[in-house]
Subunit: 723 residues, 2 copies
């Protein structure tokens, strides 16, 4: 079962889609983000409209390029010459930004293409998200840009900005200017960006790039992600997504990007009602939240649950080096907040090991007598700014420290700003991350050090930031794994599927399903199909006693409910008797005509049962799943999933994170199961699903597992075909 045809690195087997890799090649999006000249079509003399605000922002942010306002009703706006149309501009502007009524968009695009612009940003809304006519216009817009081979951002978006000092391009209509920094923010919601920029004024967040993705008629979040990955000023990429229509394409791109830079993702519309709200606003399709969460795990993207967590984590990544390990030192003057931070750090997988006796002795020399110095180091209400500085230095110097966590609450006569100053000196030059939580008001936040230091409002939020850093640091060390390609009997499966199709059946019965699994090298319990009474004895000999007898009928899905399963038949006599009773029972219930036969199957030890499965979500995204077996799985939904394709590393992680995973280890006197066999079976199942797009669903339930490699096998299975 371990013969493998190929053993290729995942990157090779997961080829980048062509459209994505070309996005950054030669800076395909440079005409958007680094345009040397911009035509603003719809620039307005009226101060209360979007076309004017964009012009104001362009000027206020200190754009390094040339600006061409276009407005047939004006000759000059804010001291700039105004053009009646794009065609009238003396040079071909590199980028055109459209803030015109919907009906005017396509004619203006015609002008732009005629004049030779290299990029388009369409702010105007009222397309796919509004009505059928909008969808038609959007489709034409997309085709025009694609035909000309130029990038298009929007429509229905809030523009973009690039804070690179060589560019300083702000094409948004945000009333708040971006603070320059190292966060690239890519968003399906312009309003959320406005929220973020407002918060940034006091929280220390700084941005390198921003793109409001709108309806994604042209460039998608994947294109923008790749562009930001290549941008030298960007240290962390933050995504706000409301649609997630091509999870597999995202997986290909994101797995590559996260090798280089952290990606943080917040998703709107994860509940059904939320998705409906999103749809009214960007015309998004509902996404399976399972597929979404699986893809993020598979691609090392840090999932955040709230806007606030998104901003805190972005601040952390934009300022701090990654920790080398999970050992945190906590320095505080506040007991309770220290306890709350500890709880949260531990929940996020971090550790708070005790300080060595030597370090404790060093601390004892200058802290308050009786202050706890094991970890947390609690300076107590008597802690001074100088003690903070000295303790921070000492803890950062300790080689068993991977990250420093500082808490401070104002005791009498010790001011936050003084503590910040001492900390700033102590951490300068440190290569370990320093996260701090102070009860931070705007004034104090503004005084926080700019360097390797992230100041967060609350102990628990700060702990979450350190958790995200550690999670990503682990991901970077984690191998991507390899896809495996096994030698299988593909032809047999093709034949079985074709046969089912030819007679209009969309469900393979258990015997057929087990045969398909066997053809793909997945171990199955010995079985034999018995069509007539005459075959019974011979087939039973082949399977061996004790055995189980199961009714086989495409119409009877839940066999146990019709009494169609008899277990533990010990010998031929008993078998004959049970066979007779079964057929009589089915006749009595009027089900005999649907009977295809009965399945004889070896009895196996079912101490530990799993379900291995394959599903497609509502969008057709292929999902591999594993969980505890038996019917209770349905009640608990205790499975874990991955989007195909998967690597061996992905499958190993599924088995680690599966609810109830500890049952696979030493459990209630049983020894750990043969993991390698289980992993390989999952990989073979994945290969089966990928080889046959006509398969809609596979249930292997139960797949029994055991410490014995040879005792791991599928006992029952069901395959559904797509119609």
């Amino acid at each position: 079962m371990s013969r493998t045809l190929t053993h290729e690195p995942a990157e090779k087997v997961l080829p980048a889609a062509r459209e994505e890799s070309s996005a950054t090649k030669g800076g395909r999006l440079d005409p958007l983000f680094r345009a040397r000249s911009v035509a603003l079509v719809g620039a307005s003399t009226r101060v209360d409209c979007v076309g004017r605000q964009i012009l104001d922002n362009l000027l206020a942010f200190g754009y390094r390029g040339r600006i061409y306002p276009v407005n047939p009703k004006a000759t000059e706006i804010r001291g700039l010459r105004c053009y009646p149309s794009v065609r009238a501009i003396e040079e071909a502007p590199e980028l055109a930004v459209l803030v015109v009524p919907r009906a005017a968009v396509l004619p203006v695009v015609g002008d732009c293409l005629a004049r030779g612009v290299n990029g388009l940003v369409v702010i105007t809304g009222g397309f796919r998200e509004l009505d059928a006519e909008g969808a038609r216009l959007e489709s034409e817009l997309r085709q025009r840009a694609a035909g000309a081979g130029i990038p298009l951002l929007g429509p229905n978006c809030m523009g973009l900005f690039n804070a690179d000092p060589d560019v300083r391009l702000d094409l948004t209509f945000s009333p708040v200017p971006p603070r320059p920094g190292h966060i690239a923010f890519l968003s399906h919601s312009g309003a959320l960006a406005a929220w973020v920029l407002t918060q940034a004024q006091t929280t220390g967040l700084g941005f390198s790039l921003f793109a409001s993705l709108g309806n994604e008629a042209g460039i998608t979040h994947r294109d923008a992600l790749e562009y930001a990955a290549a941008d030298p000023l960007t240290r962390v990429i933050v995504l706000y997504l409301e649609t997630f229509e091509e999870p597999q394409a995202f997986l290909r791109v994101a797995r590559r990007v996260t090798r280089a830079k952290p990606v943080v993702c917040l998703k709107g519309g994860r509940t059904e009602t939320g998705a409906r709200a999103a749809s009214s606003h960007t015309g998004a399709l509902a996404t399976s939240s399972r597929a979404f969460e699986a893809v993020l795990r598979q691609s090392g993207v840090v999932l955040v649950d709230t806007t606030e967590e998104m901003l805190n984590v972005a601040l952390g990544f934009s300022r701090l080096p990654l920790p080398r390990g999970r050992r945190v030192r906590l320095l505080t003057n506040a007991g309770g907040p220290g306890v709350l931070a500890t709880d949260q750090l531990v929940r996020r997988g971090l550790e708070l090991p005790s300080l060595s006796p030597e370090r404790q002795a060093e601390l004892r020399e200058f802290v308050t007598p009786r202050a706890p110095v094991v970890n947390p180091v609690d300076l107590t209400v008597e802690g001074t700014p100088l003690m903070y500085g000295s303790a921070a230095r000492l803890l950062l110097d300790d080689e068993a420290t991977d990250a420093l966590f500082v808490l401070f609450v104002e005791p009498p006569r010790v001011a936050g700003p003084e503590v910040l100053r001492e900390l700033q000196q102590a951490i300068s030059g440190a290569t370990k991350p320093v996260v701090a939580a102070f009860p931070a008001q705007d004034e104090l936040r503004r005084q926080a050090p700019e360097g390797n230091f992230a100041l967060i409002d609350y102990p628990e939020s700060a702990a979450a930031v350190l958790g995200a850093l550690a999670e990503y640091a682990d991901w970077k060390k984690r191998p991507l794994g390899r896809r495996r390609c096994f030698r299988v009997n593909r032809a047999l499966v093709a034949k079985l599927i074709a046969k089912a199709h030819s007679i209009g059946r969309s469900v393979l019965d258990p015997e057929e399903s087990l045969t398909v699994l066997r053809a793909y090298g997945i171990p199955v319990a010995r079985y034999a199909l018995v069509r007539t009474r005459a075959e019974l004895e011979r087939r039973a000999r082949r399977v061996g006693f004790p055995l189980a007898l199961k009714v086989v009928s495409p119409e009877i899905l839940h066999k146990t409910e019709v009494g169609g399963v008899i277990l533990n038949i010990a010998h031929q006599t008993e078998l004959k008797k049970e066979y007779r009773r079964l057929t009589e029972r089915l006749q009595a219930q009027g089900l005999a005509r649907q009977l295809r036969g009965v399945l004889l199957q070896e009895m196996v030890n079912r101490d530990r049962e799993l379900i291995l499965g394959f599903r497609r979500d509502a969008q057709g995204t292929p999902l591999l799943l594993v969980g505890l077996g038996g019917i209770l799985v349905e009640a608990l939904e205790a499975v874990t999933v991955r989007v195909l394709p998967v690597t061996d590393q992905d499958v190993r992680e599924m088995l680690r994170e599966m609810p109830g995973a500890r049952m696979l280890g030493a459990f209630r006197g049983l020894r750990p199961v043969a993991k390698a066999t289980l992993e390989e079976s999952l990989l073979r199942l994945a290969q089966l699903a990928e080889d046959f797009p006509g398969i809609g669903e596979i249930d292997v339930n139960p797949f029994v597992v055991s410490e014995e490699r040879l005792a791991c096998k599928a006992v029952d299975a069901r395959i559904l075909l797509r119609s």
Copy 2:
């Protein structure tokens, strides 16, 4: 099975412990919180110490009573006459506050008692949390106060305050003065209180009472909880707990308090590492987090997970009326934040029903064309302050609105303060809660309306506030339920337990355990114990075929692992054969001597299996549990628990919230199970555990459930006795 001896309201059967009910009777804590005169022992002339800061705070907050600084080395501090000792004060001060070295505490307490003070606050630390000598001193301190019959707060605490305009007593050393308001904050951490008071300066939080509980040598969080419940200015009580040593006592008090006022609780030390950190700081014992969470659910206390959530929820309760139902109207000018808020509202159990066509038409008259008005109502970037005001009025007037949720992010030229002003007018007089999320900086927060309005920083956090309000509103409507007392055969159980004790056994075998269950009216599968081969046939006839054969031995806990269970035995011949094989196998394994006998048991339909159980956590707190049955329960920990005593209502809720609960309803072609039988069995199990404190653990696994009342029964059970 439904015969019931008594049917008493829970209040009657859950008597308040004497110490709690006496806490508020006649305002036992008034000498602390409403003292008319205070002796401050340890008042200092040096400005940089706690004893001076307290005096400064007393003066700054405008204390209405008389202040007596006590310090033998001074004659006057801040213009007040200073006394050499408490005995030297001309009147008996109502309250004495001690800020003296540990060694001086007991002598000073002696002075205070001699002078006739009525209350003590001991700020001084270094007691139980520090060392054995401290524990001894603390114990003596406790006895002195108890002996004198006066309330003691502390030691090792940060004092208290009462913001009642008639009192204005601030005995803390917080550098930040409390903003008066309606929140009572009771905290095991003084530093957290300092954090909270700092944040309150900009977030609109206002306080009625504060108590730093310290080591709880005298008054406990339960006493303070009852006092705050009776305080007329307090609208919400917020608890920060690090210890939780008497869950049952808390349950008694909190169930009563939450009928009148909301209680919000944050707990530090819920992880093991966190508990260790807490222990170094208050000398707390580790608490079972299961018991903690169960008690909060049973008593209607709102559990929060972070400091920030605690403050947001407290703000909500202190300002807003409770919603009558779960129907929320969302008013926004920002799509993305609206989607995120919707997700979070739905997760918190709220609903966003569509507006009626009439209401939509009314909105259409003044909002931007194309603006979505179904719910969310999205004013879009064109929304004006006036539109906010009009829409808020209209939505609040709609009888199908239970709460209004407002989001706002600054578009060009629309300022937050103007929107706040319009909202303020719109909501004045409204009796429905209004929660708002703006990207709020300190400046804007200060301009938020004071009335029925809670301004929160982020959409998701604001949704959590509304969720907490709705949860508590539901709790107030929920019946407390009744305890039931069934007629049982208590004597038989007492005899069995005594017998086991007499021969030094601490485990009742399955046959004994089933007998105990039967004595308490819990249905069990028919069974018979067979001690000798001679009894086999007769006993089997009594049980009936098919039956199961199970080994009974106190030493063999996991029967399946020694092959000690044979199922589906069809007739006497087979039974004899299997009996012989079993005894031979046990002999071969050297286990035959431990055999007490074999159990014959009717075969039952095990489609749906539960575990019903009873446990004590490390502190001895009695817990009732229910979950899915079978061995996988252990791997999944898929059970739900309650602390005893329980009411019928508690048990109903356990069955609703149990992981996999939907398996109790219509499930995979099976009909809903006989819930009443299951509920009664759980209540009878609880009665058993309460009647016999000598029982340490009960496992009823499996308890099979079915649509047929008579088919619900225990199949296997095990009872452990405490040694």
